[in-house]
């Protein structure tokens, strides 16, 4: 415990450190890291509030901007966007019945009903309090679990890494919406797309059709902005119908004593479940909020109220998504393996800064590692302090019509993609992936597993090659090493469980329920 406090101390010192910086030609001394944290969480809340802009597209847009920042400031800001978006997402879910962010879909169910009964204030406050509690606990979870995990990970060889990635991909498909076979096919498709570019071992240019821009492979940012950003805008434009902003005034922010009695247990349960699901490869905020809502509905004694404005239905998922968002940093920081699309972008950001993600980060760059973790707690505090008073401003923002918003988003996306390498080719690729993403949505193929495959493709091939070289071509090596065999057995069990007829039916039911 003492070690952890010491480590967190290093982190807090790093977060509040004064730095000499030059902004627009003027040099000054500022607590730069904490400022970037503030900017990150405010931006995150903003995009969380606005429906149709997700954290993936935003972080992708801002990646080029972080080139000029120091690594710690860049990562603190990007992390702030992710968990800030979880706060903001609840606002539009409760007030407009539109999830500002995909993890807030379930908050709409009860949050909007509460708002319709004039209890928007307590709903918003519950979401904020739940998120804050979850944020504090999750920060501790990361601080407690990351060091031992990193120690184990240091012993991993190529076969363990390969099997771990298989497990991550299997988990991503099992947890994806809709058809399992389609999700697996999307993973394979992503893995293949990830192989485009120069093969590291032989130097052969693969699948590039003589296009020199493809020599370094397709940029992940480009794919993410096309598949998530563009496809989402197009899908939004196809749906007719204006959204109605909840016009009733938000009064009485504070929940009553009765409310507090009802929410403390769901908040803790949501936090616990979210923290666990966040660590899983393929997990994160989205899965956590769905899981927590389903769990709460099952065990709450007020389950008949769910869907009609139960405060538990806001508290549990909102705590869970924030906890999940934060603990999903664990696999990235300790194993160097991203669990979801946002973490894949963070991995990209680390690589841009010249940091190879993996277990060695904690020992080689303790300031960076613990600074990031400490910033999460500080960021959560800022969110809860700033956001409740600012709620009026966010509500105003919601009245901005989408026809004004989407050209602005498009412009920022195009500028971001173009500036990656100052080449229009990246914009072309983004447009192509926008088309592909649109078709995938129409064919009910989830893009999230594909993105994960895309990131892991080159890593998997590399580790597979090394493992096979070491074992002299014996594929059984993956089952002879205990850790590697463990990962593979868990993957197989997961797949078998999901394919059992009973579970399959249940799984479909759960997703159908959530979709409506």
């Amino acid at each position: 415990m003492e070690g952890i406090l010491g480590n967190l101390g290093i982190g807090f010192v790093e977060v509040f450190k004064l730095q000499a910086v030059t902004i627009a030609g003027v040099s000054m001394t500022l607590p730069f890291n904490i400022l970037m944290c503030l900017i990150g969480v405010m931006l995150g809340t903003l995009i969380g509030v606005l429906p149709g802009v997700g954290p993936v597209a935003t972080i992708a847009m801002l990646l080029p901007v972080t080139f000029n920042l120091n690594p710690i400031a860049a990562l603190i800001m990007l992390a702030g966007i992710y968990y800030g978006a979880q706060y903001g997402g609840s606002t539009s879910a409760i007030l407009v019945n539109l999830p500002g962010e995909s993890a807030s879909v379930v908050t709409c169910l009860d949050g909007y009903q509460m708002a319709r009964r004039g209890r928007a204030g307590p709903a918003l406050a519950t979401a904020a309090i739940g998120s804050f509690v979850a944020g504090c606990v999750a920060t501790l979870v990361v601080a407690l679990f990351a060091p031992p995990l990193a120690e184990v990970a240091l012993k991993f060889g190529p076969s363990e890494y390969f099997s771990l990635m298989v497990l991550g991909l299997v988990a991503a498909t099992v947890l994806a919406h809709g058809s399992l076979v389609k999700a697996i096919a999307m993973v394979l498709f992503g893995l293949l797309l990830g192989l485009i570019g120069t093969d590291v071992n032989s130097g052969v240019l693969r699948f590039a059709f003589g296009v020199s821009e493809l020599a370094d492979g397709i940029g992940f940012t480009t794919v993410a902005m096309g598949m998530f950003g563009l496809a989402e805008i197009i899908a939004n434009l196809e749906q007719k119908g204006e959204r109605e902003v909840f016009t009733g005034k938000v009064t009485h922010l504070m929940p009553t004593r009765e409310d507090f009695k009802r929410i403390w247990a769901p908040i803790l349960r949501g936090t616990a479940l979210g923290s666990m699901l966040g660590i899983l490869p393929g997990g994160g905020a989205l899965l956590s909020s769905f899981g927590a809502y389903t769990l709460e509905k099952k065990i709450s004694k007020n389950s008949h109220e769910f869907g009609k404005g139960a405060i538990e239905g806001v508290a549990a998922p909102e705590s869970a998504n924030n906890a999940g968002a934060q603990t999903s940093f664990i696999p990235l920081l300790t194993l160097g393996i991203p669990g979801n699309a946002v973490m894949a972008l963070m991995l990209g950001a680390m690589m841009i800064q010249g940091i190879a993600p993996g277990p060695q980060v904690m020992t080689e760059r303790p300031q960076l590692f613990w600074g990031m973790i400490a910033s999460m707690w500080v960021g959560n505090l800022m969110l809860v302090v700033l956001n409740l008073p600012l709620i009026g401003m966010w509500i105003k923002l919601l009245t901005v019509p989408y026809r004004i918003l989407y050209p602005s988003i498009l412009l920022f996306m195009c500028v971001g993609v173009y500036s990656l390498s100052n080449n229009p080719f990246d914009v072309l690729l983004m447009a192509l992936f926008g088309l592909l993403g649109y078709i995938c949505v129409k064919l009910e193929c989830e893009p999230a597993p594909m993105i994960l495959g895309f990131i892991l493709g080159p890593l998997m091939e590399e580790n597979l090659r090394r493992a096979m070289l070491l074992s002299r071509g014996d594929p059984l090596v993956f089952f002879q090493k205990p850790i590697s065999a463990g990962f593979l057995v868990v993957s197989i069990i997961l797949l078998v469980i999901v394919m059992l007829p009973n579970i399959r039916k249940k799984r479909e039911e759960v997703f159908v329920e959530e979709a409506t």
């Binding site: 096919a185 293949l192 032989s202 434009l237 989407y406 498009l410 412009l411 064919l443 091939e461």
Partner: protein
Amino acid sequence: MLHSARLDPEEGGGAMTIRNPRDFWAGVMFVAFGLAFVLIAAGTPAFLDPVLGALKVPGYQIGSAVRMGPAYFPIVLGGLLATLGAVILARGFVSGRSGEEVRLTLPFNLLDLVIGLGTFALLLAYGDRVGLSLDGAMLAAAVVVSLLAVRWRPSAKPLVLILAGCLAFGYTLKPLGLVGASLLLIFISALGGHEFKWREVAILFVVLVVFSVLVFVKGLTLPFPVCPGFIDNCPIR
């Protein structure tokens, strides 16, 4: 009225009816991509060389399980993808969800897709013969496809105009500067929405251009030209 061309060719035909067009076409897509990756990685078989002539694909080295060549992993993955694709395709004939018919509504059909992508391919390949630069050819293709969509496929407007706007921005940023490129992007993409109000879009354009110049060019010092190349004395550099 939402125009929606349906993609299933076998509508109402006998025992081989496509029950779930979403599965069917997803399967087709996966099989096509899987086979394409296998074909490019493995190359076309040697006995076809006389037939294919210059079209022959050489492929990459496969290697062995111990020392995998660049083609090994892609062939395995591509084969798996094509197999799964075939399973999904077959499911399209068997399953309909709980008896009810699953409809696939795309605002374009397969022919439209070929025409759209073909326009780009043609103009990019032969644009220089009519004096178009790469930037010009891309812009021309984007405009042609947009006009086609506006005239004949109004329900595809969001898709086509959003993508065309992005392309127009990317390929005119150097010749026309940030001002010209964002003008194209904002007006083209705004036309893809439900309502289009000239004044509103014009104000939006001015606000966004001022913001982008201040933040991206001045603040973040991105190396973008601000004014079109043909204006000699641009006030902002």
